[in-house]
């Protein structure tokens, strides 16, 4: 009896020991996280936040090129799911994470991080001779200072399925108006063996309607008066009502994917950003799709001269809490420079540093459409920033997005929706 009691006590002591060790292990997990470390032999390890590493070939291309040029630095990507990227990075930075280089997926998030003082001031890199040439750089100007350097510049154009155009006996032109676009979309809509082919697919993002309207009318998305959205909403809702685009509610419910829509031949036209070029090229190379595609400039408002579209740059920034500021800045400068541009151009990504040689190399990629309209689409006359940057950007973005949903599901008329956008932005944000 006594012996068994002692045995129990011993077991109890052992159990508490294990529990204490576990508790320590758990707290240790909470403390560390994502910091770059000094590897043996004087080699520096730089950590860089990226999204969907396996499906975003530009990162690997860039890292390989950088490591070849800087054998003393090793890059360790911190892979994050693309959909969760903004929230995850926001949480990381808020929690004092020490990841060295932070990729700025969009300018809105950049404005948040920079205004919170979470990024290193790299104005010296941006104002250098090389830096000043970068497309999209002005978007990162925060009261004369720069906290990130763009390495790629995406803009929106029109993807279309050449086979469907031939079958319908219609031709793509290099100066489509929105009315002609709508007419084409209605003509191209058909049922094919029980499967519906839409004339166009408008993704659920508000930019598909709002940013293009702002770019082409000169409207200000931070201004509080949104009547300049009206024509574009009329077009989008008209096409949706006639069944020429996938209904917004259905697209949301299915969490529909623009890639699948285009690659499976469910849509004939797709307004989308240039980042998708690399996606199609790799899908075709893998044999995942046989879509016969080409590019055209974004449709324009009647009477417009030249091609105006919207876009946004992607950039690298250095975390304020980094322990390898010099190596991190070196990487940021490399990515935005000629060597970085060459590396990402090879995988179909549009670099921020543009030159005739880079464009030529780009179109000689295997699988790129070589027709004149596609080439023209690649040189838009004017690229307006998708969403202007200010301290109000993110709050206004939330409101515009909520009201966009209400208009697109038919809960509010266009005028009601535009009216409440203005009212809410004025009363909730600007006042």
């Amino acid at each position: 009896m006594i012996a068994s009691k002692a045995g129990k006590r011993r077991r109890f002591v052992r159990c508490t020991g294990v529990a204490a060790a576990l508790a320590l292990a758990v707290t240790a997990c909470g403390g560390g996280g994502g910091s770059g470390e000094q590897a043996s032999g004087g080699k520096t390890t730089l950590t860089v936040t990226v999204w969907n590493l396996a499906k975003t070939p530009e990162f690997t291309a860039l890292f390989d090129a950088f490591q070849r040029a800087n054998p003393d630095i090793t890059i360790k990507p911190v892979d994050i799911l693309a959909d969760d990227y903004p929230e995850k990075v926001t949480t990381m930075l808020a929690g004092g994470d020490r990841t060295d280089v932070i990729t700025m997926k969009n300018v809105t998030d950049y404005s948040r991080y920079s205004s919170r003082g979470q990024l290193v001031d790299i104005t010296d890199l941006a104002t250098s001779a090389d830096g000043a040439k970068l497309a999209g750089l002005p978007a990162f100007n925060v009261q004369g200072k720069y906290y990130a350097l763009p390495y790629r510049q995406d803009f929106w154009l029109l993807y279309y399925n050449k086979k469907y155009f031939e079958q319908a006996g219609v031709k793509m032109t290099d100066h489509l108006t929105w009315d002609e676009y709508a007419k084409l979309a209605r003509t191209l809509t058909k049922e094919k063996g029980g499967k519906k082919v839409y004339g166009a697919y408008h993704h659920t993002w508000r930019s598909v309607v709002q940013a293009i309207a702002a770019a082409q009318t000169g409207g200000d998305q931070l201004g509080g008066d949104y009547s300049f959205f009206r024509d574009q909403y009329q077009l989008a809702l008209g096409l949706q009502k006639d069944g020429a685009t996938l209904d917004f509610g259905t697209a949301k419910a299915q969490k529909s994917d623009y890639k699948t829509m285009f690659e499976s031949g469910a849509t004939a036209m797709l307004p989308m950003g240039t980042w998708y070029i690399a996606g199609i090229l790799s899908a075709k190379e893998k044999g995942a799709t046989d879509v016969d595609w080409a590019l055209a400039p974004m449709p324009q408002r009647p009477g417009a001269t030249g091609a105006t579209t919207f876009g946004s740059p992607t950039a690298f920034a250095v975390n304020r809490r980094t322990e390898h500021a010099d190596a991190a800045k070196k990487f940021v400068r490399f990515a935005a420079g000629p060597a970085g541009a060459e590396a990402i151009g090879k995988v179909g990504v549009v670099p921020a540093l543009q030159s005739p040689e880079i464009t030529k190399a780009y179109f000689s990629l295997k699988g790129m459409p070589a027709d004149e309209i596609s080439k023209k689409a690649f040189q838009p006359g004017k690229v307006v920033l998708e969403m202007p940057v200010s301290e109000h950007t993110s709050d206004i973005d939330t409101i515009l997005n909520e009201e966009h949903e209400l208009i697109m599901v038919g809960d509010k008329s266009i005028d009601e929706g535009i009216g409440s956008m203005g009212d809410r932005v004025k009363s909730e944000v600007l006042d």
Partner: protein, 306 residues
């Protein structure tokens, strides 16, 4: 074992020392759990209370602003939208889940062939990944091609609801999904409660000529009261804290029609970096849940006194 404890030990340590030892042993038993609770729940919670009175973006030094965050709350229309939606969700989720769970428990509390299978089937939604649940129900509720609306149309409903794609029906869609998900868990609790009711009560009532409804009303329900109370309290707390299902299913949309308080806390804090304001909302949510729970406890006490 019992013998050992009751037998006086050969050398009895002083009473005080023995009492201390009991306390220490007790503490060391709850220590692992308490440590985790203190580190990950208690301290952050107290910190959040303090944060409600400061302006803080998680980076700069917090600045004391007194009641500013709460004043702002009173002027914030989005807060009231979220509050209304949370109450709407609770008003739908609590009674429906309670009724569904109790109904299931009653149906499965008998000797049926395959009752084990049905009980497992009813519990299954609760252990299924929430993201999968949300995605599948979104597909079922698809306004144009979803099975739910196809069935409704086959039944002669010409203009079926557009569910998650409409501001009026998005919340009902979320409530239906959450009831389906949670009813299995509360069913298990009710089943345990039902099995604790002595069979003699029902037998005696039957002999006295009570029909099934009378037996349910006069025996089953009163005997289940402790279980029902527990289920209602848990359901209430769960309903006010709802976040995950809504984030995946509708993300608060369309517009703000399914935006709930917990989601607003997340959005203001994590996304917008306004941790002070976010904590103020969290504090209000906490006070609401606390008040409702205290009221429930009082009502329960009063009823058990009777």
């Amino acid at each position: 074992m019992a013998q050992v404890i009751t037998q006086p030990a050969p050398e009895t340590p002083p009473r005080k020392r023995r009492a201390w030892r009991g306390v220490l042993v007790g503490w060391s038993f709850i220590l692992p759990n308490f440590l985790g609770f203190a580190l990950f729940t208690l301290v952050p919670m107290l910190a959040a209370f303090a944060l409600a009175f400061v302006d803080w973006d998680s980076y700069r030094t917090p600045e004391w602003v007194g009641l500013d965050n709460f004043q702002r709350l009173l002027r914030d229309e989005t807060f009231f939208v979220a509050l209304r939606n949370t109450l709407y969700y609770a008003a739908g989720h609590i009674p429906l889940t309670l009724a569904a769970a109790l109904g299931l428990a009653l149906a499965l509390n008998r000797r049926l062939r395959g009752v084990g299978f049905f009980r497992t089937a009813a519990f299954f939604p609760y252990i299924t990944s929430l993201v999968a649940v949300a995605v599948v129900w979104n597909m079922l509720f698809n306004p144009t091609a979803g099975p739910v609306n196809q069935i409704l149309q086959a039944l002669g409903v010409d203009d079926p609801p557009r569910w998650a794609a409409s501001t009026d029906w998005a919340m009902p869609a979320v409530i239906i999904t959450s009831v389906w998900r949670d009813m299995g868990y509360y069913m298990v609790l009710f089943l345990a409660g039902l099995q604790a009711i002595p069979k003699e009560y029902h037998e005696a009532a039957r002999v006295d000529g009570a029909n099934a409804w009378h037996r349910f009303r006069r025996i089953t329900l009163p005997c289940l009261r402790p279980t029902t109370f527990f289920v209602v309290v848990m359901l209430t707390i769960q309903s006010f804290k709802v976040l995950d299902l809504i984030v995946v299913m509708t993300d608060g949309g369309p517009g703000r029609s399914t935006l709930v308080l917990a989601q607003l806390v997340y959005r203001e804090g994590i996304t917008e970096g306004r941790f002070g304001y976010s904590s103020a909302i969290a504090l209000v949510l906490f006070v609401i849940v606390l008040t409702v729970t205290v009221v429930q406890f009082r009502l329960n006490e009063r009823r058990s006194d009777r």
